[in-house]
Structures are given as structure tokens and as C-alpha cells.
Symmetry: D2
Subunit: 349 residues, 4 copies
Amino acid sequence: MVIVMTPEATAEDVARIVEKVESVGGEAFVSKGVVRTIIGLVGDIDSFHHLNLRGMAGVGDVHRISDPYKLVSRQHHAGRSTVWVRGVPIGPDTFTFIAGPCAVESRAQTLEAAEMAKAAGATLMRGGAFKPRTSPYAFQGLGVEGLEILSSVREATGLPVVTEVVDARDVAVVAEHADMLQVGTRNMANFGLLQAVGESGRPVLLKRGMTATIEEWLMAAEYIAQRGNLDVVLCERGIRTFEPATRNTLDISAVPVVQATSHLPIIVDPSHAAGRKDLIVPLSRAAIAVGADGVIVDVHPDPESALCDGPQALLGADLRALAQAVRQLPPMVGRVDASTLSRTPVVPR
Amino acid sequence: MVIVMTPEATAEDVARIVEKVESVGGEAFVSKGVVRTIIGLVGDIDSFHHLNLRGMAGVGDVHRISDPYKLVSRQHHAGRSTVWVRGVPIGPDTFTFIAGPCAVESRAQTLEAAEMAKAAGATLMRGGAFKPRTSPYAFQGLGVEGLEILSSVREATGLPVVTEVVDARDVAVVAEHADMLQVGTRNMANFGLLQAVGESGRPVLLKRGMTATIEEWLMAAEYIAQRGNLDVVLCERGIRTFEPATRNTLDISAVPVVQATSHLPIIVDPSHAAGRKDLIVPLSRAAIAVGADGVIVDVHPDPESALCDGPQALLGADLRALAQAVRQLPPMVGRVDASTLSRTPVVPR
Amino acid sequence: MVIVMTPEATAEDVARIVEKVESVGGEAFVSKGVVRTIIGLVGDIDSFHHLNLRGMAGVGDVHRISDPYKLVSRQHHAGRSTVWVRGVPIGPDTFTFIAGPCAVESRAQTLEAAEMAKAAGATLMRGGAFKPRTSPYAFQGLGVEGLEILSSVREATGLPVVTEVVDARDVAVVAEHADMLQVGTRNMANFGLLQAVGESGRPVLLKRGMTATIEEWLMAAEYIAQRGNLDVVLCERGIRTFEPATRNTLDISAVPVVQATSHLPIIVDPSHAAGRKDLIVPLSRAAIAVGADGVIVDVHPDPESALCDGPQALLGADLRALAQAVRQLPPMVGRVDASTLSRTPVVPR
Amino acid sequence: MVIVMTPEATAEDVARIVEKVESVGGEAFVSKGVVRTIIGLVGDIDSFHHLNLRGMAGVGDVHRISDPYKLVSRQHHAGRSTVWVRGVPIGPDTFTFIAGPCAVESRAQTLEAAEMAKAAGATLMRGGAFKPRTSPYAFQGLGVEGLEILSSVREATGLPVVTEVVDARDVAVVAEHADMLQVGTRNMANFGLLQAVGESGRPVLLKRGMTATIEEWLMAAEYIAQRGNLDVVLCERGIRTFEPATRNTLDISAVPVVQATSHLPIIVDPSHAAGRKDLIVPLSRAAIAVGADGVIVDVHPDPESALCDGPQALLGADLRALAQAVRQLPPMVGRVDASTLSRTPVVPR
């Protein structure tokens, strides 16, 4: 930590800070500049946090130097992790393709979408039973009935299930049916939910808050990790900017930035970032090339009748183009397409 | 609703849309342009929502024309509402000053802050017992013990209590002690929590999500209203932008924008918007002048030792300047300072 | 300046930096932390800039401590400045109301708008002869003919003229007719233009770039000041955010932030920030209350026929409400309405 | 165009609009809704623009339907264009790699950087002689001397030169030495400069304004095209967001979005977007995969001593990795690496 004093700070102000830092066992190095004094702190950063140094007289600014997260940082965990979802890996050596309908509407629709996904090379199936919707008048999902459909489709197709949980009170029932729990963009800072999924015993897919910084996102992952669950996969899904041509702006740079500071896997959701079907294939290609550990996309057998996000769901030629990209591009960046791995078959639970 | 067809749309595409709209009892007016065709829809907008028109062939864009919220809109409720919090009004005729510490740390600190607030003209007291913090390693609040302190300080000072609830599972216990439930910026889109406070029987202070549009914020209020609770006060607290000089950018224009479209009261939180003590007084003056129904600010008897947001807490000369502004400016914009109203004394519950 | 080394930096990396800093006469204080080393630099900051320290091996980050601008900073010029525009002050003791049409369309329209402005209490007239427009197909202004109209209207009304210059090649001709040169939001970083107005001998109204940080804006003012022209007035006109309800988001906090770090006057343009007529009066009130040194607003005798920004131009009841605010509110924040000052009459040049 | 009337609009308001539209030869289709009336306009959009419909009584909103740009649109020019820079193509069939130092510092440094670039597969050389800098105290470039160095290095290496012009008054001299004129992010809305390069007879590289929407960017290209110059290449270089981990946020989606609406080529600048050397290679790979027509990157023989943007300049292993990506990836997305094309040798002018 570095404390920058204001130009008006007195020698007494500096002395009080040094004393306070030393009172918790830290060391303070004072550098007097022409205009300002700088104090470098050495010692246990957590103990410094409780000193409220920012509130002390004469303090202009406090710069944090090391990362505020620990369990998810690469600082003490240099290699990159692989998270296994019922036998399917998401990590640095593979490229994992996850697909399915935005919302579970019926068994027939879900099964058909899952079969489309599987045929295109997907090894995990997505589908929402609980939908967080901006409007209370929009379709909110089938709830437990949707979870049962997902279970049944998993048995039929062999694809493990990723599904969203929106309320801490639902974690138990969702964990009963799902293989991976998704925390959505609107809930990235719902700390009660983060703690609940941290105790669920299931891997977690943590979407980036649509206006969260990467650091805040990693802090959210730290909440989950702190409850003993390190099986967290991050998902970049676009951030809010002034550009109206896409629903959000896919922050593709977040992939290498996260990989440089955290050991957790990171995948990309081009469907929700763009909100436009015509961008899914190029953005998926970009995700593979930038080094993402996977992509998650919306597919639907009949987008015109979809109850949720129809305009971004893939089918037909687009889905074939995506399937081809998922087969051909990962080897160019040193990865194995996860669908080509042999895997222990899924058995009903 | 207006549907704009793509330049490539066929006459058949248009006919299918007209047919679909008419199938739910709506009317469709077709205007053929040189390049594009436009279809204006007339009828029940909710029935149109379920048609997933965006997903149909030939559709380029769908423009919504009327507001997506109803209960909180001025469209069917022209006057502006007053919300009463244990006898204290927040609404168009008054200006309400709410103050207190960011976090409840002890009974002594809370009582002292509440007395500072009251002396400065505050008629409601704020203070956090449950704190949503970005870091799992930061102080998370005293919980139920904090609520009991707030109750006890209310009895001592007569100031009704506004406090945050961060988890739907805590709504009952918070409602037992608090006079107004605050939903914080990170939870604006936590729909389970919104529904729970909507059923709590207490007035709600709904902060704007730090990156929510005004429309999304009003939709969040609609979630609460839909559960039968129209006692919702909105609170503008700054939005996330690229400007680093302030923690967030106070969107002062949101006050008149909200007042033009919703009947709900709206107040301003300059402390969390700016994150800097030196801006609280000028921003509070601006809030009064722009027509806000109140302000909510952090005060602390000893900001240097505060466990939360010390750098933005007011005391001494700044608090006196704010007290003066709250007395002098509201009459200039046709309002009564709420602290000058006679009021039924608060009796212990 | 503070240099934060990466965790991987070697003792040799640190030694090379110390040596480099000392080679230009600076001092370097090294603080070794558990994970990282921090180096505080003391000495002439300009000489450090040329060292390209960020590019050196082992350097993680470089924090600048003091302001990067000098001539416009309060650091060596503690009081706040007043800029005089042909006898009209803009500064800390007064509140200056500037009004006029967005674009000069004809002598009749400009004269009528100027008379409306004057009747409402304006002491300076605005009006554009050269218009920077996003579309090459939009009205680009009358050019020199517009300047001549402005001169003639100044003679008729006695109001000094503020007008925009968009090209360094036009500075001489605009300076011949105008009393204050405006640099618009799109040209805030047009450094050739900034230098040209810095040599023009006329006071300058420098609008904030619609996505400039406050620091970048002050650096733009520094460009003008560096050419010997300290008569610069800053104008906050809204920044680009994700909120669509207003054209831009008025950053009202920028007023006290600028006043804390720069001695230059600062005014507010609510018309271009909001782009909506109904917000001009409340935002002008907020500007006065927050401590702005003036406001600049669009007025037009016939907004329906305006060739530019008609929807935001005031007339009638709104203009009267604004006139009243400009008379009544400034004394509440310790200012004199500039229109009540006696002033040497304007003589034709 | 579609006009949405306010709920309060009268039949008379509607009639006045219809009349006005018909007065310029347009047709107006009126759809009366339960709450609002919608008017669809058919006819020449330019004539409608001059009507200032937004300013008319009863008008709530005006939605533009077709693109506001023409010459750069695909609407009347369905194929995608190739721009030739002294024999080097930038367009849909190839992938063009442009590299060089941020600033020209000396002949030796420029030559060495150009040779590095060429060895890595670059077919065009970049380098700045006129540098737009935020601070007036920063290095502003060598000016004409820098242009002469670039000419001389072109003769030595055979690489055509792309260089920035920052002032309309310099266009002639820059065009004399350069093969392609770059308009930088700060000047995207400097309309005088756009018109000047539009008349220069040289191809133009138009960077996106760091906070410009894609539509504004295409309108800037339209300014150039309108002066008779259709040899415009767009360059995405990151937009300003709240995320601090990168200097700007590379809007990778802009590539397919632009390609869907404009026939102009588009390349990506990962160096200025990220501002971090470690992201250049992954972002370049993403750019190729998403379908960009080229990339432009900073290289420098000695980044530690660079006078401009040293921290983002590539050399050594990173540059080799980039060279490999440029050779291997373009064929995966159906493109030819432009360096493998035979080309007429560059002759000194």
C-alpha cells in the first residue's frame, strides 16, 4: 500500500500515520517530495484495511498495490485450473462448447434444442428454469418443472446440465437437478446467493455483472471460493457502454486479462453480449482465438416462437458454421475440442 | 408498438405479421416506404409481447412506444405521490433530510450520529446493520444486533429508521425493527428481494443500480408495486462512467426525468455518488434546487475510525452548512423543510 | 511519482531505475514490501517523464502524484479567477447568464432571440455561425455572414458575443467579430485549434469533450494557457453514458471538482447536456446551487422552425422561470447576478 | 421515418404534421393507438430533415429508420470494397498486417522498426511524425523531419507509409510523403480535417473516436467520401468504458457490425486499445478470427527508450508469435495473408 499525503499535510499528520501502521505490526517508509509526502506500507494488508487510513487527516489518496483477492489469484496458484462438470473439463487444455435454449419451455423444445446442441459438438447443455427478467410481466421460467425437464433431457442425451439459480432459497433444489449452477449477470453482487452456491457442492458458472469491473468480478468469485468451492468458471457476457449497435459490448480483452491474474477458467457468452444472431459465429471465433476456455450460446429449434431472447438463438447454417469453428480453430491455439475426448458416460443420479 | 421491416422483407413476411397481430385482437397499419415497410400496432401491448415479433422473418427492429411499467407510471396516476414513513412525509410538498452513519458499529456511535443528524435537521435516521460489501474480507455489518441498536436509538431520539436489507430471507426480521426498508444499488435487480419487500408492509427506499437505466429502475419499482406495495421512494446515487474524479457520476437529471414519468417520490444520495466529503454540500444544494424530494447523507461522529465509507462522512462545519442549505433552499423551490412540520411523536412499537 | 514494481522484479531492475532517476538529478526512495517493491521519486517531474519508466524491466505501474497541468492549477494560484468578456465578468463573485440561438439563421431571428435573452437577464449572447455537425448533410451554419449578423445584433442590443470556432484557419476571422471564442465538445482535443485560440487575444469558452475526463479537459485548457491566454472559461455540457433518457448525462459534480483543482471559472450548459426543453430550468437551478459561475442556454423565437437543436430551445413560460431562478438563487449561494452590475456600455469596434 | 406523438397530442397537431410532410412531397400514414398516434413517413428523407419535426407540437419522438449515411453504406453498394495503398490491398480477400513505431524518433530507430515489421510479415509501415498528445508538455513528434525519415525508410524497405495528420493545414505536406493518411481517434469529429483528407487524393485510415458510436464513425467516413474519396479504411481502436484493466475496451463486435452495414474495409489496432504488450497477440488473433481485414500494431526496437507508448510496443518472442498468427490464422477464415501476394515493387516518387 502507498499513501499519498495532500500538499497541506503536516509532519504531525505523517507521524500519526506511521504510528498507526506500526501499532498493527507494519512498517512505514516515508519519502518527502517537493510538494507531497509519500508513505509506503509493508506488512499484513488485512490489518491495514481496518485502520481506515483514507479517513485520516492529511491523507490525499491510498493506492492498493497487491490484488484484493487471494483464493482465486494466480499469486499463490501459478498454474491455471480445470473445472470438471460431471466428467466434462473446462480449462486450459480444452475448448468446451455449451449450448441450449435460453429458457426451458417444454420437454419437446428442450430435447430438440439439446439434440441440436449435441449434434453441433456441445458437451454441456444450458437451459433456464428460473429466469431473472427486467419486467415483472415477462415469462419468469417454469421453475421446478423446468428443472425436471432438464434432468430428463440429460438422461436422454447424456449432456450434463448448466442452469441458473436466482435466489439463495432455491439453491438446494437447483443443485439437486443441475450439474453446474449459473449465477447470472444481475446477481453477480448478490452476496447471499454467492455464499449459498459456495456451499452447494456443485461447480459454478459466474457471469460478469454487466457493469462490473474485472476486479469486482474476481471478488465475487472470491466470495464463492471462501465458502470452500473453488470450482468456479467465469463467463464474460458483455458490458454496458454507450454503443447501441449491440445489446452489450463484448469485452474480449477480459479473457487474457483474467487469465493473467486468476487461475480460474473463463468462457465467453456471445449470445447475450451481442443480442444479435448474425454476430454469434464471428464472436465465437474471436473467443476461441483469444484463448477462451469455452463458449456458451443460445440455440432453439424455433426461434420465432421462443419465449425468451429468440432473436439471438442459432439454428441451421449458423449453427453448422459454429460447429465447424469449434472443431477447427481450437487446435490452432493449442487446444483440444472437448467433444473429441472420451468420457465416462453420464449415469442417472 | 412499431415494427420496422428489413429492406429484404417480403410481402409475405408482412402478411404473416399482420395475421399474427390480428390473431390476438390487435390492429396492424402497414406503411410501405421506398426502402422499408413499417407496421404500426394498435391494441393490448401485453398480448403483443407474447408474439415474439422480433424473432419473425423480415423484422428489422421493434420500437416500443408506451412505457413498459404501469403501477408506478404517471400515465394513469397524474399527481405525484407522498410516502409516509412513521409520520414523516417524503413527497412533492416537502423536503426530507435523512442522515446517519453508513454502518451501525456500536450503540454509542449510532446514538451520537443520530443526535448529530437530528440537530442538523434530519427527520429520518439511516444506518446499516447488513452491509453488502465487494470484498468478503470487509466488515459485513452487525446483523440483528445492529437492528436492535437502531430500534433503541429510535426510542432515544424519536427518529424513524431506514436500513438496508440484502437478502430476501432477512426481510421479516429487518421489517420488525425498521420503519423503511432500503434496497441497495447492488440489489436493484435482485427480483426475489424486490418481491419480498413488496410483501413486507413497510415503505421501501429503492436505490438505483449503479449502471441501471432509469427505465430499468422503474421496472424494479414495478416489481415491488406489483406485490401490493406502492410506498416506494426512489434514490438516485450515481452511475458508473469513465470519470475517475468521483466514485460515481451523480445523474442529477434523473430527478426531473423520473418526476416526469413516475408518480413516486425521488431523493438523492450525494455521499455514495461522490465518495468525497468536499462535494456533499454542493451536491445536496443541487439536489434541492433540481427539485428532489429529499437527500440522504452519511454522518459519523468520528470519520477517521469509521468501519465503512469514512472519507465521505460529514461532521462539524460541513454538517452545519448542509443544515443551513436544508433550511433555506427548499422554500426557494416551493417546498417546506420536513423538519419544521409538527408530527405525531414516535411511540415504541 | 511512485513506481510499483512487479512481484517478479529483481534487485537489478530496481537498481537500474534508481540509477536512471539519479541521472536526471532526482532522488529515489526504495520500500521493499513482502511481495512488491515500491520506489518513491522526488525531484523535477518533467525530467522523469522523459525517462519512459513504464517501459523499464520490472515496472508494474507508475502512479503520478501531482497534477499534470500547471498554469490552470490552483497549486500555484490559490484564488479563483474572473474572466472578463468585454466588461462582463465570469467568476466566483457573480453568476453570468448567457443565452441565444444554437445557430444564427437570419438577422431577424438572431435579433429576436438576443432580445428575448436580454429581457430574461442574459448579459452575453451566444449564437453559432460555424456549426460542427455529425452529418455532412445537416445545416453547417452561415459562416462569415453569420458573424456579421452577430456583430450587428451586438450593436443593436449591447450584448457581447460568444461564438464557436471549429477550424484553426477561421480563428482570425471569428476573433474579429466575436468577444469570446467557443471551442466545442468535438474539438476539445483538437490541439491545433487550442493553440490557435491561445494566440487569438480573445477569451475562450472551452467545452468539455463529451467523453473527456476532467483531467483531460484541464490539459486542453493548459494548451490554451501555454500560448499565453489565461482567459479560459470551462463549460460542463454533459458526458456520454449508457442512460438514454437524456442526450448526455450532465456531470454536475464536475463543477465543484474543477473548482477544487483549477482557478478557472466554470459554467454549465444544460441545453446540450439534456437535449430536452423540460429539463433546462431544473438543471439551471441545480447549476446555480452547486456553485457554477454561469449557465449558457439555447433560446429561439420559434423553436419549431429552428435549423438546429430546436427541441431544446426555451421560450415563453420556461424562459420566465429561468429568468426568475437567475435573479433569486445566486444570492442564496453568495453571488451577485451579473445582470445587476453596472457596466461600461459596449461600443462598436 | 416514424413519428410517435405524445399522449396529449391533438388531432390538429397530427394534421399539421401530415400537411408539412406533404408540402415537401412526402406521404404520411397515420395509425391511431389507444394511447398514442404514430405517423409513418414515406419519401425523401433529406427533405424531411429540414422540417424540424422534432420541434413540432405534439411530437414525442422521431425514429429514423434507414441509415443516415449513403456513400459508405452497403445499401446501394452490396459488395465489400478493397482499398489499395501503393499496391497493397486492404479488403475482404486478404489480411493486411501494418506495423511500426508509435512515433518516428530518428532514422535509425525507424529503419530498425520497419525492418522488424517487414521480417514479421508486415506489408505496410506505420509511424507518427505529428503526434496529438493530451499534454502540451509531451513529445509532439518530429514534424516534417519525421515525414522525410519515413520517405527514406520506405525507399530502404519498400514498405508504403501510413502516418497521421492532425491539422488540416498539414494535409498537403503529409500527403506528399505518405501513402495513406491516418486520422486519429481525437480527430474523428474534426470535420475540417475530414474534408481536407477527402480532397487529398490519398487513401485514409480513419480511427474510431474513443467514444464514438459506430454510426457517428460511419458519418465521419461519409464526410471524407462526400469530398470524392472512397478509399477509406476504418480502424477500431477501443472505446472508453468504466473498466480500468485496459486503456480502452476493444469493441471486437464493431468489426462484423461495420461489415454488415458498410462496404468499407475495417482493421483493428490492439496496441492502442489495450495499452498493454501482453494482450497484443491474443487480441490480434481475435481480430483475425472475427473477420477483420487487417491489424495495425506498435513495434519498437527498444521499447524502454521509446518516446511514446513504449509499454505497448512489441519485440522479440511476442512479435514472432504475432507473425505466426498472421501467417496461420487468416486461411482458417478464408483469407490470404497479404504479404504472400506478389506485388509491383515500390518505386521512389
